[in-house]
């Protein structure tokens, strides 16, 4: 099957979970002998076209016109993506187009019309959920999301909670939306790492406890609640250090907030770090804390589970579906620093129990969240819409 996949982020242009998702799915589809063509935006140092070892073909499109308004710029780059797909489709007869989120929806919709083939849309999140529909640009994004969901033959969400949100907000028929969860490449976490050396790079000594947070520094990730939990955790574990990985527009505020705790010396904001370093750091942590207040899926939880680190996460969205409380991780109340602190201390206080959680979590990841299984389910959906 020839699949055209549209996404505005694809490694190394990576910020959130969409790039990792598209990479994992594309590789797994290629392993199943499908022909995958990725249409995405250019990134410094990457070629305009490349074919990976797995056979995934990647077209990186430069937006030849700029505009200071973000929405106008999005519509412009969609035009250039559309042109690239049109060129490629002269030689490739696509069976299905798969669009990820609203950012590439306009080109997907246009091209679906011109080639008369079905479009599948994965809604990784919604504007309504991310930040509320709060200004004219936000309303337009919300409208684009509705339009893409309307035009799609099928909509994929990665969790049950996200399906409810999408069906409720956009008034979609329940049967139009399919839940296909995210997955993780467990093999990435099978190597050995020098924990001492990795921790030392982040200022964490062997006898100290490393509490890790990974995610974009935006309000929906609830990092402020983790920062507010620091004094509580430190009171019980004076040797605790907090490493916050990620980048985002909210960083300045979070760093200011860290300063107000009087504990900023034990909180390290690393910014964005390369994937291989993140894997090593995750495998070297004592606990992974996920303090999100909105999380359609929460792939970082799966990554922590695969890496063998106990996960403490807010009981929201997909996190509440991935993690079975006190069996494969620990769920805590969202927007609640005391609850989060309790979860972290619960794990750090009980090493044997933490090891049991990790073992259960690894089994769950291998059984239910492999890319191969997720790719097969996605292909079934492609076949259903292509009939």
């Amino acid at each position: 099957m020839k699949i055209g996949m549209l996404t505005w982020e694809y490694p190394p242009r990576i910020v959130g979970g969409i790039a990792s998702h598209c990479l994992g799915l594309a590789r797994a589809l290629a392993d199943l002998r499908h022909e995958v063509h990725i249409f995405t935006l250019d990134f410094p140092g990457t070629p305009a076209y490349e074919e990976t070892e797995e056979g995934v073909k990647i077209y990186r499109v430069a937006s030849e016109l700029g505009h200071p308004n973000f929405l106008t710029w999005v519509l412009l780059f969609n035009h250039f993506i559309e042109k690239r797909i049109a060129d490629v489709s002269q030689n490739v007869k696509f069976a299905v187009l798969h669009v990820h989120d609203w950012l590439t929806a306009p080109s997907g919709i246009a091209f679906k019309r011109s080639i008369g083939k079905p479009m599948v849309l994965t809604m990784h999140s919604t504007e309504h959920g991310r930040s509320g529909v709060h200004n004219p640009d936000s309303s337009t994004i919300d409208g684009l999301e509705w339009w893409a969901a309307y035009e799609a033959s099928k909509v994929i969400t990665t969790s049950d909670s996200m399906k409810s949100e999408v069906c409720g907000h956009f008034r979609l028929p329940w049967e139009k939306v399919e839940i296909i969860p995210n997955a993780v490449d467990s093999d990435k976490y099978h190597g050995s790492v020098d924990r001492g050396a990795v921790r030392a790079r982040y200022g964490v000594q062997p006898h100290e406890k490393l509490v890790l947070s990974v995610g974009r520094l935006v309000p929906q990730k609830g990092i402020e609640y983790l920062i507010q939990a620091v004094p509580n955790v430190a009171w019980r574990f004076p040797e605790a250090k907090f490493v916050i990985v990620g980048e985002g527009w909210y960083r300045d505020h979070l760093q200011y907030l860290a300063g107000t705790t009087g504990q900023s010396w034990r909180i390290n904001f690393t910014g964005f770090i390369p994937d291989h370093e993140l894997i090593a750091l995750t495998m070297s942590a004592d606990v992974l804390a996920i303090s999100s207040i909105y999380e359609p899926f929460g792939i970082v939880a799966l990554e922590g589970m695969a890496a063998g680190v106990p996960v403490v996460a807010s009981q929201v969205g997909g996190l509440a579906e991935i993690i079975e409380h006190d069996k494969t991780g620990v769920l805590v109340y969202s927007r609640n620093p005391d609850s989060l602190a309790w979860g972290i201390k619960h794990v750090l206080s009980n090493p044997d129990h933490a090891r049991w959680l990790v073992q259960n979590a690894r089994e769950t990841v291998q059984k239910a969240y492999s890319w191969k299984a997720i790719a097969k389910r996605t292909v079934n959906l492609y076949r259903e819409v292509a009939r």
Binding site: R13, D42, P68
Partner: protein, 69 residues
């Protein structure tokens, strides 16, 4: 802004006068903003024929993307 108007690599860098045209921000304010962004690693500049030209770095692109992803 540098991201959206295409100054995403050295070859596409823009002079401060060009950025002023896009942003309509006065040149001194813009110079200070660009200097701050440069210190944070989000913007870099290159000197071409005696003119300073600015572009957004890969880290800066990632920062922009966090707004909308």
């Amino acid at each position: 802004m540098l991201h959206n108007i295409g100054a995403t690599k050295m070859e596409k860098s823009m002079s401060i006068e060009e950025v002023v045209q896009w942003t309509e921000v006065d040149i001194e304010t813009l110079r200070n903003l660009l200097q701050k962004l440069r210190e944070l690693g989000y913007v870099e500049f290159v000197e071409i024929a005696g003119t300073e030209k600015y572009y957004v770095t890969p880290v800066g692109i990632t920062k922009v993307m966090t707004l909308y992803s």
